[in-house]
């Protein structure tokens, strides 16, 4: 009896924690809904799970570093709201008729944060340090295609390629580094790693390791002074904590998970204080098969597996409907995306037929398909720390069991996943994702020359037609020509099914309602960050 009473008391306590009545929260006036007057001032506080490892973008591969560096530095070009390339530090450029020479005309009068003028010398230095074998960078590959570079004068920079290389332009979106501070010195020992000097819209003010990074707006920015005075990056390693900070007003912006977005943000209190945005992210998730494994070498088997998987169910269950089914490696709505391909829809009957055609006809006592006495069984590997991929694996396991395929799931820590499994080809199937870059060149992922150890075509896909299409697609600047190649490639991939393409998730950022000027577009919401503002009367931080 005492135990029972204690239990009730406990439950009561627990529930009062989460009762619907709102406790006293920090008094933040619910913002007026109109756009208000643009005004300078205020700060935006953004949460991050990881901390920036180095603020020299060339040397960093973690997203935290790039988030900060992205505001401090500029590239020669960048993507506009519709994912078309536009000039940033380069006002304009010319491409020679044979596609081999790009001449950039650089913007004049742009200053580094320490007052020095930006010139083509900086671009030259950036190129040189990137391809320098002593620089430990992951981004040298694109520049390796360059035959020669030349700084014609202070504001003209010419790049010559050995062969026409369409992704070339995109590669010049790389952050340009200040030659006057780095030349002749060892970049890995440069203080710029924690005190960056760039040309970008925000100037580095302070970094407290593992706690925060503070950037202040660049009053002399060439595009105009950003409205928001300060950008504060708070490092909060735990997702639940970050969500609580969001609700308590400790941070202004966070990317939510589908469940958080749909279930935890419905209260009127929340929607009064935050705006929710939703748009397709530039990434896709897939189930990749090790094509060297005899189990998956027959393409009917792969087609069957795809037919046995209900992709809609995955989007519904894992993403709560906030995403789209993927039929190929491109994001729907982008120029290279082929809307006409026929993928293998969910059809378990057809799956069983296809498997029977491929020799999987008998079933053992557990109902698992067999061929020559061996059961159809394989393991899906995925990386630890990604809830969505894990849930996807569990769902696939479930569906495949229904047609007689036995799937086991193993989760592996990232580094050993790569070194022990991916790099050595030591896996049967994996669930992973790729980020989709705006340039549709997928040479590194699908070309047969990239199937060596540690290369990106780790599934071992070889298809002569696709090889040719990839080569053709990257060797011309003509958009229509490229589109033809990529359209055809998607058709072949849909037939071959080297991956079962699963979904393109939606990005689900939530931003404090006091920020105006946010306009979701194909490029997301960050592209016009310098134009965001908070009306004077709603500014929170001085």
């Amino acid at each position: 009896m005492m135990v029972k009473r204690a239990a009730w008391l406990l439950l009561l306590l627990y529930l009062t924690f989460f009762s619907a009545c709102d406790g006293k929260r920090k008094e933040v006036a619910a913002p007026h809904r109109g756009p208000g007057e643009p005004a300078y001032g205020d700060s935006i506080v953004v949460g991050s799970i990881g901390q920036p490892s180095t603020l020299i973008p060339l040397l960093a591969s973690d997203s935290a570093s790039h988030d900060v560096a992205g505001l401090v530095y500029n590239g020669l070009v960048r993507y506009d709201k519709n994912l078309k390339l536009e000039g940033e530090l380069a006002e304009s450029w010319d491409v020679s008729p044979d596609g081999l020479v790009i001449t950039f005309h650089l913007r004049q009068g742009v200053k580094w944060h320490d007052g020095q003028l930006f010139t083509s010398h900086d671009v030259l230095y950036t190129y040189q340090v990137t391809i320098d074998p002593k620089t430990p960078t992951a981004y040298a590959d694109a520049f390796k295609q360059v035959k020669s570079v030349e700084a014609l004068d202070d504001y003209t920079f010419r790049v010559t390629y050995a062969k026409p290389f369409a992704p070339a332009l995109e590669s010049w979106g790389m952050s340009i580094l200040p030659a006057h501070l780095l030349e002749g010195k060892d970049i890995t020992k440069s203080p710029l790693a924690y005190r960056p000097i760039g040309t970008g819209p925000y100037v580095f003010k302070e970094m407290v390791p593992a706690q925060k990074v503070i950037l202040e707006s660049n009053k002399d920015y060439y595009e105009g002074r950003p409205f928001i005075d300060r950008f504060i990056y708070r490092i909060i390693p735990d997702n639940s904590t970050m969500f609580m900070e969001l609700k308590a007003g400790g941070i202004d912006w966070m990317g939510l998970s589908p469940i958080q977005y749909s279930r935890e943000t419905g209260s009127p209190d929340f929607s009064g204080h935050f705006d929710k945005y939703r748009y397709p992210a530039s990434a896709f998730t897939y189930l990749g098969y090790n094509l060297r494994n005899p189990l998956f070498s027959d393409r009917r088997v792969r087609q069957a597996l795809t037919s046995a998987i209900n992709k809609d169910e995955i989007v519904h269950g894992v993403l709560l409907g906030m995403g789209q089914v993927a039929h190929g490696p491109y994001k729907p709505g982008t120029w290279a995306y082929n809307p006409h391909i026929r993928d293998f829809d969910y059809n378990p009957g057809r799956a069983v037929e296809l498997l029977a055609e491929a020799g999987w006809r008998n079933r053992n006592e557990k109902g698992i398909l067999e061929k020559n006495g061996k059961p159809f069984q394989f393991t899906i590997l995925t990386n630890q720390g990604n809830d969505e991929r894990l849930k996807t694996a569990v769902i696939i396991q479930h569906r495949l069991k229904a047609i007689g395929v036995d799937v086991k799931i193993q989760v592996r820590e990232w580094a050993s996943f790569l070194s022990q499994h991916i790099d050595k080809g030591n896996f049967e199937a994996v669930i992973l994702g790729w980020t989709i870059s705006p340039d549709p060149d997928l040479f590194d992922i699908f070309h047969s020359s990239k199937t060596g150890p540690r290369e990106l075509n780790f599934i071992g896909y070889r298809n002569a037609e696709v090889d040719q299409l990839l080569v053709d697609g990257r060797s011309t600047f003509d958009l229509e020509e490229r589109r033809r190649c990529y359209y055809r490639m998607q058709e072949v991939l849909a037939e071959d099914q080297p991956y079962t393409f699963l979904y393109v998730p939606d990005a689900l950022p939530v931003v404090s309602a006091r920020f105006r000027g946010i306009e979701p577009a194909p490029a997301g919401i960050m592209y016009n960050f310098i134009k965001w503002y908070v009306p004077k009367e709603e500014q929170l931080y001085q």
């Binding site: 997702n239 469940i259 592996r412």
Partner: protein, 283 residues
Amino acid sequence: MKESFIYQVFWKRFQANRFALTGAAVVIFLFALSFLAPYITPYGPDDLDLYHVLLPPSAAHWFGTDDLGRDVLTRVIYGARISLLVGFVATGIAVIIGTVIGLVSGYYHGWVDSILMRFTDIMLCFPTFFLILAVIAFIGQSIWYIMIVIGLTGWMGVARLVRAEVLSIRERDYVMAVRALGARDIRIIFRHILPNALSPVLVSATLGVAGAILTESALSFLGIGVPPPTPSWGNILTSGKDYIEFAWWLTLYPGLAITVTVLAYYLVGEGIRDAMDPRLTRK
């Protein structure tokens, strides 16, 4: 003869301790639950239902459903198996290693003792959880690795306890007597010394099980606990922590399960300690 008397006294005292009894009852209940799991659970632990995700407790699902639509009650019951398994195997390993080292060290003295004790000292210098964390993260996440590693880092206390007991016992007259009679070492160790050295080990073991369960939940929180889809209380609790506000059932039930179980073991351990304590006088 002498031994059975001690056990009788022990039992009487233990039974009189209400806390310890409650603890023992809970432990037994959990064992029963684990064995009977497949027969008493309404659903399977892996039964997905993507159209009934995160439902609150109801008649159909007493503990609600999780983020893949699986029944939480079923998973918590199966989780009991895992948690108990981890607790026992990990502690078993720790106790065996610790006892062996303690026995050898205490009995043989000399340089064997020196080396073993120095080794123990070295291991004790490391922050235990850091070691476990590093090894699991490096070696790979599997329930067996977790159990082995927790065991391999938890034997030091037992070793010291056993050694201390051995040291004090070996000087006693009856041991000298048996030795004088020419009995072999091993026989001495096992038949005479070990039974008496067992008492502190038992206490240590129950606390060890409690600790192992908590450690597993800590590892789950960091993402390297028992790998999904196998349910363990730690990983159910972790999967629910992001929804702590609206899907309170996902954290409440496994959290309670862990708390109650650890509490039970602790009470049993303290009960054993009190019952065997020769200095406790009756009021």
